[in-house]
């Protein structure tokens, strides 16, 4: 055994440093919840992207004679009060809801992280940017949404079509109104991080600010960013349903998970399963994203890695 030790050591010494992402993946694999969550999320994405091509019933096709049916082979999730197939509507609605959730979350994340890092790192920008954040936090959301939608709905519709225009509008509205929490948390972390000695060490090496942020600041504020990202998706899906409910979102016959949920609440007494499908879809998607975020956060922190 003692003979083989040095040769092993030599073999390892020749091995070049491997990419950190392999370590991250190795750790991610050990987190069962995260793997399960990732599996489910991929399944949901596949279903909503490829599903409508396999399930040929048009979600807007009204078959009034087959209305209010329970689950059957022809309609696995049953039909609604107009006889539209709930399964097809779920697939079509999921496509919009997941797309809105992910894009709005990304938008608010990028905005929040950028504002937080800039405010925390550059002292001169701190005051103005944080006052801007306070301003957005203090804005009354609903009147703001009404004004934005009144002002831009028609122009966006004309430019990108009725669904595309509303999609852009909703993503923009959700993103612009939910970045403040992220910004505040990130700013606090950056302020503390900036005083750490490794940042000073990087400064003594002559690392310019942009690389300092990318190499030293961002990787170390990843945990709070990850948490707000996972919460952000849930928040975005639910806000979108609330907007649709208020008539400010997508047209009423255009299915989204939130829309389906609110439509079904009218029939809660007679057909409780109709609330169940969209409700379950939203909750499980949000849960799976939370687990993915949890696993990613652990995997990205070398101190937790390998435990």
């Amino acid at each position: 055994m003692t003979d083989t030790m040095p040769s092993n050591a030599e073999l390892e010494a020749i091995r070049p440093p491997r990419s950190q992402w392999w370590d991250v993946w190795d750790q991610f694999k050990t987190h069962k919840g995260a793997l399960l969550g990732a599996g489910f999320f991929v399944l949901v994405i596949l279903a909503v992207v490829a599903g409508p091509f396999l399930w040929h019933i048009d979600p807007t096709y009204i078959d009034i004679r087959a209305r209010n049916q329970g689950p059957s082979l022809a309609h696995p999730f049953g039909t609604d009060q107009l006889g539209r197939d709930t399964f097809a509507r779920m697939l079509a609605g999921g496509r919009v809801s997941v797309a809105v959730g992910v894009t709005a979350m990304l938008l608010s994340l990028v905005l929040g992280t950028a504002v937080g890092v800039l405010a925390g790192y550059f002292k001169r920008l701190d005051g103005p940017l944080m006052r801007l954040t306070d301003l957005f936090l203090a804005l009354p959301l609903l009147p703001l949404l009404l004004v934005i939608i009144m002002l831009f709905r028609d122009t966006l519709r004309a430019a990108f079509g009725p669904e595309g225009g509303i999609f852009i509008l909703i993503v923009f509205v959700i993103g612009i109104t939910s970045w403040m929490q992220t910004a505040r948390i990130v700013r606090g972390d950056v302020l503390a991080l900036k005083e750490r000695e490794f940042v000073l060490a990087a400064r003594s090496i002559g690392t310019p600010p942009r690389r300092m942020i990318r190499r030293h600041i961002l990787p170390n504020v990843l945990s709070p960013i990850m948490v707000s990202a996972t919460l952000g998706i849930a928040n975005a899906i639910i806000t979108e349903s609330a907007l649709s409910f208020l008539g400010l979102g997508f047209p009423s016959d255009f299915p989204t998970w939130g829309r389906l949920l609110f439509d079904a609440t009218d029939y809660l007494q007679q057909y409780p399963e109709r609330v169940l499908w969209p409700g379950l879809a939203i909750s499980l998607t949000v849960l799976s994203v939370n687990y993915i975020g949890d696993g990613l956060r652990d995997a990205l922190d070398p101190r937790i890695r390998g435990r």
């Binding site: 440093p17 002559g206 190499r215």
Partner: protein
């Protein structure tokens, strides 16, 4: 000992580093902390200058200000003939490879999310144009130089002991072949057994690469071991500067005497006879230093002139500088001589 005709590698003239204090509703500037107040010294190539003083006297600030990690308030810092006191941005960045720093807390000075290879390679990424293979080769070379196993290249800082982490920090500082390294209490956070290892490593590296050190520490015995010359700081000013042996055997400034009298003696017989000079009172606030000599509030040999005039930092013997009225020309030479002999009696009981 050193070629006096050669220009010194590091020249510091009248360096001042004041930090503003803001208070009140409008965050107006109400005062300044004079962390480093008008210090001057030179370091020759290949030399180690020890910088000692109690906590909060401005040692670390001085070290950082010399490397221009702060924007200095006033003064001139010249390293290898180049004036870096006013350099900014890209110009300063290009001078960085010449001067590096080893930090006090090896845990805090390494980014926990980077591998050892990444940490040591960062200066190479910033300043050297190397291919992937050359870069890796250089990283391995540096790891060999500081006595780290090459297998550790893929590991993260939290997987190492304090001494090993400090070796990583030293390897990073060496990466760009600097001439001048500021060691900011590199051993303060380490075990005593590891301290010796790290200090010996620093000495070996100095010999191999011809490095020049500014060694900041409050461990007087360690400074005595590693430094060629020693500067003593009190409240932002250098009170005494001289060759190591002369300073330790015959300290001139009352503060230096008090400081050295606090060093324990290994021999119990001598230790029992050691007379400590116990200073009374606290260090004054650096935002409101006393009028006259900074040390006048605690000096056992204080004179009326000390409370009025600030003493000059003058050369009293070849190579020995001291800032004290006991040694100014106006004062009676005899008194000064007496002070020095008394001082050596007081402190050098152990010799």
């Amino acid at each position: 000992m050193f070629d006096a005709s050669a220009a010194p590698l590091v020249e510091v003239h009248g360096l001042k580093m004041y930090f503003p204090i803001h208070a009140g509703l409008f965050r107006r500037k109400v005062g300044e902390v004079k962390a480093v107040d008008n210090i001057s010294f030179t370091i020759h190539e290949g030399e180690t200058l020890g910088l000692v003083g109690e906590s909060g006297c401005g040692k670390s600030t001085a070290g950082r200000a010399i490397l221009r990690l702060y924007d200095i308030t006033d003064g001139v810092v010249r390293i290898d003939g180049q004036d870096i006191s006013d350099a900014r941005g890209e110009a300063l960045r290009r001078m960085r490879p010449k001067m590096q720093m080893v930090f006090q807390d090896p845990q805090a000075s390494l980014n926990p999310r980077m591998t050892v290879a990444g940490i040591i390679g960062e200066p190479l990424d910033e300043h050297a144009r190397l291919s992937r293979r050359e870069r890796l080769e250089r990283i391995y070379e540096l790891m060999d130089a500081v006595g780290l196993n090459r297998n550790f290249a893929n590991r993260y800082p939290h997987e190492f002991s304090g001494g090993q982490r400090q070796r990583i920090g030293i390897a990073r500082a060496l990466a760009l072949n600097p001439k001048f390294i500021v060691c900011d209490e590199p051993i303060a956070a380490l075990d005593v057994s590891i301290q010796a290892q790290v200090v010996n490593l620093l000495e070996d590296l100095q010999e191999r690469f011809g490095l020049t050190y500014l060694f900041i520490s409050h461990d007087l015995s360690m400074v005595r071991h590693i430094a060629n010359r020693v500067a003593v700081m009190y409240l932002g000013k250098i009170v005494e500067l001289g060759p190591r042996d002369a300073l330790y055997s015959e300290p001139l400034h009352p503060y230096t005497q008090a400081l050295l009298s606090a060093v324990p003696e290994p021999d119990p017989d001598h230790e029992a006879r050691r007379q400590r000079i116990i200073l009374t009172g606290d260090v004054p606030s650096p935002s409101n230093p006393p009028k006259g000599c900074n040390f006048c509030t605690r000096c056992p040999r204080v004179m009326p002139v000390c409370r009025e005039e600030e003493p000059d930092f003058r050369e009293v013997a070849p190579g020995r500088f001291v800032a004290c009225h006991l040694f100014t020309e106006e004062t009676d030479k005899k008194t000064a001589g007496q002070a020095a002999t008394e001082a050596s009696e007081q402190v050098q009981q152990g010799e």
